[in-house]
Structures are given as structure tokens and as C-alpha cells.
Amino acid sequence: MNLELIPLLIIALLMISAGGADVETTEFVIEGDHEMTEHRGALIVGDATVTVPANEAVSGPVYVIGGEFRVQGTVEGDVTQLSGSLVVEDGGIIGGELQHIGGSEVLSDEAVITERTTVTLESNEPGPIAAYAPFVLTTLMLALAGAGLSRKRNALLDNIGAATREHPLISLTVGALLSVTFLSIFVFMAFTLILLPVSILGLLTGLLIIAYGIIALGYLAGQQLNTSRVGLATGLGVVAIMVLLQVIGVIPILGDLIGGGLLLMGLGAVVLTYFGLQEFEPVSLPE
């Protein structure tokens, strides 16, 4: 599954939960081509092409978070489009409200749409300042946090940095295993709806650990500056790491692998050292 779908999936599940739909009848179509003829209950369209054929009806609500949703027949309930593509062809009917939040849509003049609303979250083509503002803000926040942490609790970053530097393979392995397992568990939890808050909390905690890992990597990078102003060095190191992650992403596949590897290594080192509270020592084996 495309990882970028996860936040949208969580939002869709929150909406389903708020709307009071039954989780047992909710279907999430992740991949492939599907024709829906008589589905009763909520439907989430992921990285798939889902078609409601002519003369067929599904109850809805339908949430489009990726892929393509084609309506040739009838959707009795609401359709909410968060991303992906929505096509309502000649004779297609949406009996409820069509809410467009993101993605592309093609609506035939001959289609029947009872009610239509559009929620605009951002302009379609943001300027360069708007496009880079989230990155700059995140970098600034992490750099400030790193500078503060390195001045007041230097030992924490020392331990995490040491684990990353001296045991990169172990940190990477632990980080990769934890992220794959817990990401799946949290997505799975989200489907139960009851555990949706735990799922969101878990994902946020994961993001915080990754951020902590970036700060530790920045601390390591800052040490190369050989300055006594450790706060400034860490701040600059964090900026360097963030820029590196941004720039390296331009290289296809390899860039993502290196960037992902760095983040996972940081995450693994944070966990291995109990968030920096303890130095990591592997078990000792005879030489």
C-alpha cells in the first residue's frame, strides 16, 4: 500500500466513525480493478479503480483517497473525494452530497448530482514561498529543539548519536522492523474504529520519535564543526540533515532508500537507547 494513503485513510475512517457507519460493512479497496454492484455500507477507494456499473447501485458513503472511482450507475449516499480521481459518467447518479476536497474530477453534464460542495484547503498551484513554508518551518522547529536539547541534556543526544555512529546496521534493522510492524498495527487498529484514537496517537508518537532521531543525526553532523557552541552546531547540523533529506529525494529510488534509511536509523537508535537515557551495548560475544 502506498504510504501516502495512510493519513487520508485515517481521515476517512474518522469521517466514517463520526458519521456512525458500521465498521463491519466498511470495505477498503486497496488495489486492482473492481466493479461494485451491490455493496451495502461505507466504501473507501485506495490505489484501485472502482466502477459502479450502469443500472447498479451501492449504498455509500464512498470516500475516494486515491486511485479512480467511476460512477456509471447510482451511489445512494454521499461521496467524499480527498484525493485520486472521480469520474461521474452520463447517467451516473449521486443521491447524497458530493464533497470535493482534493484530487481531480470529471463530471458529465448528463450526470445527476443531488448536492455538491467544494472545500478548498489550498490553491492549486502554490507559489515557491507557500510550497517550501512547511519544510522551512519544520526545519526551524527541529533546529531550535535540537539546539535547546543539546545545551540542556547533552547526554541524551550523545547516547543516541553513539548508537547511530557505532551500530548503524543494528539501529537501521531495529528502526525498519519497528516501523513496518507498528505502522501496520496502527493502520489495522484504525479499521476497528474503537482504537482509532490509539492509532492516531501511535502514529503521532512515531513521527515524534523520527523527529528526535533527526535531531540526534543533526547533533552528530554538528560535531563535525568542531565548535564549543554545541547548541549552534546542533541547530546547523539539523538544518544540514533536513536539507540533505530534501535534496536526496530528487534521486529516484536510491535517494528514497538513503533518506528512508537515515530516518529509520535515527528511529532505531532512539528506541535502542531508551530515548537517549542509556548507552546501547550489544551483547558481548567471544572474539
Partner: protein
Amino acid sequence: MKLFEFVRKRQWVPITGYLIYVSVLTAGYYYNLTFVQLGLTDLGTQEIGMPPGDVSIVMAILALLTLVAAVTSGVLMDRRGWSTDLYVKFRLLFLVVLVQLFLTVAAPHVSAIDQFVLWVIVCSVALGVGIPVSFSFMLDFVPVRDRGYVAAIVAGLSFFMAALYPIKWQIDEFSLVMSAMMVPAILVLAVLSVKRFRFVDRLASQHERDAFGTGRFCRPIPVRTVSFAFWGPVLLMFGVFFIDSLGFLRIIETPLYIYTSWQSPDPSVRLFIAVLHVVGALAAGIIYTNFDRNWLFLWVFGLFAFTHLLYVFHVQFGAGDTPPLVLPMFYVLAVSFYTTLNFALWPDLSTPETIGMHSALGVGIAGWLATFSSTSLALYSEAIGLSLANHLMYVNALALLFVVALPVLVYVHRMAELARGGTTP
């Protein structure tokens, strides 16, 4: 890794030891994984036409006989000093592979129940002798420091081949391919059995070196056979193998799940599974080498519990759609993890004097007995018409039980140690 040190110093003899170990164990495990475990079911049900219930009884007989043969040969090896004599072990392995070649060639011609039972009896004796012989090679060839990584390579390669090699999982296809693979191995082993070589002499004495002979968990005090330190891991490994086979056989026989399993007709799915096996095994090797073994056990049970939960969820709410690859992904990770653990654990719980007995008990009980008894149970549950969802629910319950039992066992054990006045962790 110690291997890199050997390469740097150009010490080719120990490097040859690594190669021999990986070749023998990979081929042996691949054979057992495909030919015995899955080919045998095919032979009984498809070729001879036995009902699944009867095949399950024969599988149980195979498991018990293999265990008896393994323990007998393991005890003999330790008592007569064969565990520390590499040439004797090569001779024993030569006999085992020779018998297995005859069995492999004969398998497609087995057409009656009494022939099938005879085939199973001979097969179990060969397997039983092969277990302590092959597992004890680790003490001769692989230093303690590298055992996790080498075990990972063996596990990864075996599963990689089993998942990717495009033969049908049926006895006649197996027979041909396996026979062709065995002949060169038999020739090499025949030569090593009758002629002494200087490099083999050097390999034969490696177990006397501190870096090789005594297992990781036998330092400073060797693990006794009658002790919690030995039977605790046996129980846990039994649980792991049992849970795996119990769920696996029903999953791969359900048409919907074949498309995202080891038997998928789609090569890209099989490639995905094969590569993931290697990645999972390497991750397990790293964890085994750098952490306490209980973390690996806990991770394996946790992965199995989560995997079966995913399958149960998909059976109930999947609406008959092809399952996403995340389901086999977790299964593959769990299997690679515990297989790596299985290869490294028993030698590390042994000394050169106890390796025969410990590996026979460990692999015999935890591996064979658990696998075949759970395979029998899976066939039985199929025969009585238990639904896949209910079957997997039981498997999941077992996995969850072990997830909880492991920390409790470790904690209680520590308490018992403290009560006896022990202080070291």
C-alpha cells in the same frame, strides 16, 4: 564479523568451513522444507489416494520416528565421541544423503499404502541421523561470533530457493530435481569419507578453539540437558514451529490465498516473498547476534499473532478479494526469524560434548515433532470441515498465549534465581 577477519588474513581453511556449512545446511533444509513436508502430503493424498486423516497419521509416525532416530543417534554421537570427529560426521552424512537419494528416486514409484509407510519409516531414520550430524557442523565450521549471520544466510537462501524455484510442489517434479542435486554432493562426501586431507584435518580441530567450540549460552557454565536453560527454549521453539505449520498448511490450501503465497502463479509475488525471506533472515541474524535471544522469541510470537489476526480479519471481512501482500509479508518475516533462530540456537546451547544430544532434542522435538504434529492437526481440521476462520482463530490464540507466556516465564525464572540467592542477571 569474524569472516571478514579471516578474509583479511587470507585464512582460506576457516572460510572453506563457512562454505561447507552453508551448502550442507541450505541443501538439507530446502530438501526437508519442500520434498519431505509438502511432497509427502502430495504423495499420500494425490498419488496414493489416501484420505487426509490417514496421511496425518503417517505424518505423525514420521515425526515420532524422526525424533527417536535423532535422539538415539545424538546420544551415540556424544557418547562415542563422534560429535568431535569431523571425518565420522562426513561418513554419517554420506550415508544419510545416499539413503535420501534412494528414497527420492523411489518416491514417484510408491503406489500402495504399505510401500508408503515403509518409505516413511526409512525416511525418518535418515532424517533423524541427519539432524545431529548436520547441526553439529556449526561447532566445527562457524565461530560463535558469526553464528547469527551464518544461520541467517542458510535460512534466507533455503527459503529464497523454495519460494522462487518455479517447480510445482508435487512429488514427481521434486524427485527429478532433488536427485540431480544430490549426486554431486554424494560424490564429494564419498571422497571426504575415505580420504584424509590436510585442510579437513585443520577444520576438524577448529572446535577446540575458544572462538568455535563452546556455544554462546554455555559460557562460563555449560547448559545441562536437564535444565530450564535448555528446556525453556525447546518449549518456545516447539510453540513457534507448531503455530507456523498449523496455520501455513490451511492457508496455502485455500485457493484465495494461493495467489499471494509461496505457490502463487505470479512470479513477481514469489520474487517479493523470496527477497523478503532474505531480508527477514538477515534482520533476524543481526538481532540474534546483538541482543538477548528472548527478544527474538518475543518478536516471532508477536509477528505470528499479528499475522494470523490479519488473516482472520481478511477471511471475515475481505469479501473474497485477493488479499494484500502485507499478509504474506508478516508471515515471511516471522518464518525467517524463527528459522534463523533455530539454526543458531541449538549449537549455542551446546558444547562439543553435548551437541549431538542437544541438537537432536532441540530440532527433533521443536522442529520435527511440532511441525508434523501440527501438520497432522491441520489435515485433521480440514478433514472434519473446520472453517479456515475458526482454524486460524485457534492458531492466533496459541500465538497470543505464547506472547504472554514468554515474559511471564522469563520473569518467573528470574524470581526463582533470586529466591535461590543468585544475583547475576
